[in-house]
Symmetry: C2
Amino acid sequence: MPLGEFELIASYFSRPVRRAVLGGGDDCALIAPTAGMQLAVTSDMLVEGRHFLSTVSPDSLGHKALAVNLSDLAACGARPLAFTLALSLPRASEAFLGPFAQGLYALADLHDVELVGGDTTAGPLTICITAFGEVEPGQALRRDGARVGDELWVSHPAGGGLGDARLALEVFRDRIRLSSDDFALARRAMERPSPRVALGRALRGIARSAIDLSDGLVGDLGHILERSNVGARLNLAALPRSTMLAAQDPGLQRLCLLHGGDDYELLFSAPPARCEAVGRAAAEAGVAVTRIGEIESMPGLRLVESDGAVTAPSSTTGFDHFRDGLGES
Amino acid sequence: MPLGEFELIASYFSRPVRRAVLGGGDDCALIAPTAGMQLAVTSDMLVEGRHFLSTVSPDSLGHKALAVNLSDLAACGARPLAFTLALSLPRASEAFLGPFAQGLYALADLHDVELVGGDTTAGPLTICITAFGEVEPGQALRRDGARVGDELWVSHPAGGGLGDARLALEVFRDRIRLSSDDFALARRAMERPSPRVALGRALRGIARSAIDLSDGLVGDLGHILERSNVGARLNLAALPRSTMLAAQDPGLQRLCLLHGGDDYELLFSAPPARCEAVGRAAAEAGVAVTRIGEIESMPGLRLVESDGAVTAPSSTTGFDHFRDGLGES
């Protein structure tokens, strides 16, 4: 006989809160925001087969469900405070809930963010996390602040780059093969992204616009361009990539770099005069950043190929979970 | 060809925000809470076949998805501010999204609460709303404040009562029949609950404990008793019920009143000396309240039958969405 809903919640998700006034178990959680700070709020829903594969370990899934939300807070320059978890799962399985909670709490602890409440129910495996952070008024990084002349930057792992998560997806889709070591690396990029919270905080007052890369570089940059009413050019040769990705077919590299999805790095713009400040912010946050292009007045996106030719991207939309579910070809 | 994810969000859920600093369309929404207020947060996930039937109109579903969250804010005495919406749906259907958004926004407008962001994806029909409100420090109504001697109260529609939503469910399950007029009434109770936000606000400083009735009176009262470390007795004859429910078989009445679920009324306790203040709060909020029992020191729940006999409830747990999905018998 399965555990009841209430017992299930109690056994896995009822760690006492330290900072919140009141945690899970009441009708609402109560949080006391720092006076004068603005509240940043983000909500992401992850559906099996669309946002994660059934092969993902519950531990990694717990990590990733929180990571994608912390990545949104990072893109705003907000300091994470708390989150709620709404979880629909086919049955109350301890084999799932134990490691799922472990992965979730490990990342929460790393960023000193508290689970303050939520909901659990039976249904298709679906995870909805809503995360809250705080940011000083006027200091939030937004999508609409890019200005002509800004340099475009992207964060990435030292020695690594964009697109490795997509590479793993291509293996799962049986379109390419990787050595087992490379596959482990790519799979880790896909399943265990590191939200760039410290970088987002360090970029307040330096970056003029920012977004986190969840749907692919071209699509997400498109949001900045549209909101800021500007255009941009991207230098393809400058896009940071891992040794593993650099060894792949050029067409596949291009797909992974420009339309990969699931990178969870920060894409941001800053005035050229703040170039050194960007470098200091990245060093302070312990993450690598690379300059990949610039903001221009002409609308649209131009790609500078390695031979200097300027082309248009083949698709201007990002990864679309309606068209491009993970399980589809 | 279905609309893309981004266009879908833009077309139905991107009304400009009035009070929030920044609404949907960026990585995070930005809210400026009133200085010194605490933030109340609640999150509910609704799954088709568990929390609503496939026969529900999209308009009513939009209403109910927000109503259940506002009901949680009401039970805390919080003033609603904003909410996020995460929506998984099988396909981007305008026939669904139009009326769904209409039902959602109509209730949002009624309570002056803003949709500030969220997520939309393909998948099984699942709705996750996270709602935020604010409440003065120390004024939140909680589950753990009931004291021995408190009177127990429940809100209800004037001339109506608890259990009508469950009555509708019994019709859908083909266990009973109602006249078409009665079925329309019961179905409305099930699909269009009115969150008691004004009553929750008016009860600050009067009620000592409160909870909203989502899982049935016995189960939800059990949460107050457990958290407050007290017991209670309920006067069965006093439980408010509609003429329609009062005409049913006594066993069915008992089931609907005690274990119905989906009432979304407020159950609260207050000292006998505040009896008149409770009445004034209810009048101010335009909702009926009825005294149904009292808090006692002896742990557990006792039911006073109409003949004066004292019994124990047949089940001490509420509606459990793992055991008791709507579609199951």
